[in-house]
């Protein structure tokens, strides 16, 4: 699974790898940026190391809570789901905010457009909320296209706004979208005109994306029918470890999500390591400069906004679309903020950081706290203390504190809904601390050069000169003679700019047919 990002790009930078892999650049990663390729390999290792570390932690939690194999696998399945969907969403947002500086806080809205479009396209015409009954892939493509189009509509006027205004406009748009899907009047109007419906706030059913896995594992995609060859093999293998078919199915979908994350990552890394990504960074840093250097910044921003929205739509489809049911309540603005928190933790501007941010957020911060109450109970039980029924109110929990009895408060704090409140408090605190203490997040500090090749590595023989900066002459050495010196240089080896100009002209003409 770790190979695709690296192997896919061999056309891009393989020719340089020999030159730099032996140059000992590892020893000084800050001053000389690494080849994208070596960095990728290390990053992929980093990501998987973190993933398996987190798996180990949650497996331990499962063991501590006396879960059986199926239980533990289910815990891991669930955190994998959250890690994967957040990784995808964060990658998409990183394209907007981390790379281009577009402060889009309407992520939930663009997800909703994708999911609902997919739902309307694929839902059965006979359902309570009827749809067009089209195949799943049409729904997925349609959802992405629609998200991109809504992104275009938002982008056309909004991109000239300053960041905080863009934030409010995108948030407003996302709320308009949510309220529209929540509206029964909208659903009725759809039914009158197109014969499809969204069913307002009660949500709608449609064939979920999980169906893909069922089709792979069961003949005809029906869980009551015979398993396919693949299904048979996997179920058989699972059975020998007492793992239920349902758990296998769940992990099957995780594979789909994993492929999704890899696809997002490869796409985004390619964009990052390209002239296109370089222009995006320039827009983020100073749009007027990019404009004055001949880049049609608005066109770039529109493209990026559309692409990012399409990816948000796809991530939404893979996440909210999996169960075959969606409702407007899933797309509250809080969801957008979670994605932001994950991006900021990982480090805006870094794709690897985005994946790690999604991973850490989806597992440790979002799902982790929910296991705390039971762990606490188990822990106290070992110590021979019983937590007892939680008090009904905060007041009843506070009163015993006067007599130094902490247990009622602990019980109150670990009651299920209260834990989720405290989890949001924790998320808020983490967000504040990261913004205050480490605004660049985990990986945002890295120098990630936006180019399709390693810029520090010159392929020509003059590379020795360029590679050793100290050898160039300091300013003071050039005196009156410098002009003469330069023309001489121009004449002999093409160091002067006139030679550069010639190179450039020829490269412009023969650009179409290089090796």
């Amino acid at each position: 699974m770790s190979s695709p990002p690296t192997s896919d790009d061999d056309g891009g930078s393989r020719p340089d790898s020999d030159a730099s892999s032996g140059s000992g650049s590892d020893s000084d990663p800050e001053s000389r940026s690494l080849l994208p390729e070596t960095r990728w390999q290390r990053d992929v290792i980093l990501i998987f190391a973190m993933l398996f570390g987190i798996y180990a932690l949650f497996a331990l939690i499962g063991v501590a809570l006396d879960f059986d194999t199926n239980g533990i696998l289910n815990v891991l399945r669930e955190i994998t789901l959250f890690a994967a969907v957040y990784a995808m969403l964060v990658l998409a947002l990183n394209l907007h905010w981390g790379y281009t500086g577009l402060f889009n806080i309407g992520v939930a809205g663009f997800m909703a457009v994708g999911v609902y479009t997919m739902a309307i396209l694929t839902a059965s015409p006979d359902a309570t909320a009827p749809g067009f009954g089209l195949p799943l892939w049409v729904g997925i493509v349609g959802g992405m296209v629609m998200s991109a189009l809504v992104g275009l509509v938002a982008a056309l006027p909004a991109l000239r706004l300053r960041a905080d205004y863009l934030a409010i406009v995108t948030l407003g748009l996302s709320e308009i979208i949510r309220l529209t899907f929540q509206s029964m009047q909208f659903s009725n109007a759809l039914e009158d005109t197109l014969g499809v419906a969204t069913n307002g706030g009660s949500g709608m059913n449609f064939p979920g994306t999980r169906g893909v896995v069922q089709y792979a594992f069961y003949r005809g995609g029906d869980r009551t029918s015979e398993p396919t060859v693949l299904g048979d093999a996997l179920f058989g293998l699972a059975e020998s470890f007492d793992v239920l078919p349902l758990v296998v199915l769940g992990w099957g979908y995780n594979v789909v999500l994993g492929i999704g994350v890899i696809a997002f990552y490869v796409l985004l890394v390619r964009i990052a390591n390209s002239p296109f990504g370089r222009v995006l960074k320039a827009i983020r840093e100073d749009e007027l400069v990019a404009d004055s250097l001949g880049k049609n910044t608005n066109l770039f921003k529109i493209k990026v906004f559309m692409l990012g929205c399409a990816l948000m739509g796809l991530a939404g489809i893979l996440w909210q679309g999996q169960t075959g049911y969606t409702s407007p309540h899933e797309f509250r603005p809080e969801l957008t903020f979670y994605v932001f928190i994950a991006l900021i933790i990982g480090g805006a501007g870094s794709n690897t950081g985005s994946v790690i941010g999604g991973l850490v957020f989806g597992t440790l911060l979002f799902q982790g706290p929910l296991y705390v109450p039971r762990l606490l109970q188990e822990g106290l039980a070992v110590a021979g203390v019983e937590l007892g029924t939680p008090p009904n109110t905060f007041y009843d929990a506070v009163l015993p504190l006067g007599s130094l009895d902490l247990l009622p408060m602990l019980a109150y704090a670990t009651a299920s809904t209260n834990v989720s409140y405290l989890r949001f408090v924790l998320l808020g605190v983490v967000l504040i601390l990261v913004v205050q203490r480490r605004p660049e997040g985990l990986l945002g500090h890295r120098v990630e050069t936006a180019a399709a090749v390693d810029l520090s590595n010159r392929s020509r023989s003059t590379a020795t000169d360029g590679g050793n900066p100290e050898s160039t002459s300091p300013v003071d050495e050039h005196d009156q003679e410098s002009t003469g010196g330069h023309s001489a240089r121009t004449a002999d080896d093409g160091h002067g700019l006139s030679a550069v100009r010639d190179d450039r002209d020829s490269s412009a003409t023969n650009g179409g047919h290089d090796e």
């Binding site: 896919d8 007027l288 250097l293 049609n296 000169d465 023309s487 700019l497 550069v500």
Partner: protein
Amino acid sequence: MSEQAAGSATETGDRTTTGDESTVVDSPPPLRVTDLEKHFGGITAVDGVSFDVHEGTLTGLIGPNGAGKSTAFDCITGVYTPDAGTVEFNGEDITGLEPFEICNRGLVRTFQIARELEKMTVLENLMLAPAGQRGESLWQSVTPIARRGVAAEERELRERVWETLEFFEIDHLAASYAGTLSGGQRKLLELSRALMTDPDVVLLDEPLAGVNPSLEKKLLERIHDLREEGYTFLLVEHDMDVIMTHCERVIVMHQGRKLAEGTPAEITSNERVIDAYLGGEV
């Protein structure tokens, strides 16, 4: 100060003789500004300015602070849309075009306060500039086969970038973030980045402001080298010495209008200039 300027102008007259060969007057001038006007609210920043910049020259645009030099620059390069007047570049009317359209026609600018892209390395800054890179297409950047062509082009560009960096002697800073450079280095970076766009005419907005003397000398040497290679420069400065020493032609602006135009010698002997500008400063 004015006396000094006048003195050095005659003294270094020999230095600017190279301009003679390059002033071929037959073809239309690369840059022609006619009756340019720009108002901000009730204030007229540029009030009917006309001038030509001839091919292969280093032309100076001078005037006291608030004379409208930078605004004129912004109107020429598309940052502002002029309220009246035209800007012609190589015979084409470019008035009111977007900055990127103007740049892609071969007219590039630098900024008064160097606007480097801080969280991008010096290399990235330069790699950004060349026009029409095939990798600027989203599609070509992400599809496997097209990406090979992108990488090949990137390698070619990389050579040019390193040569340019060496030419400006900032190659030792290649991997640093532009934001970590000193003021003078930023000016060098900006000029080198502007040249990477393959311009015909370069507009320099106070390239020497805040630059230490040794770097200033280096920058001016580079500008002269480049002019000899056929680049045309329009230079905004309010340092008289620099303009009078290094430019073949000088345009003087005052209170939004063009006060005078001519060779440094003509300018230093122009009564109106002395009254309005040089006289005022002593």
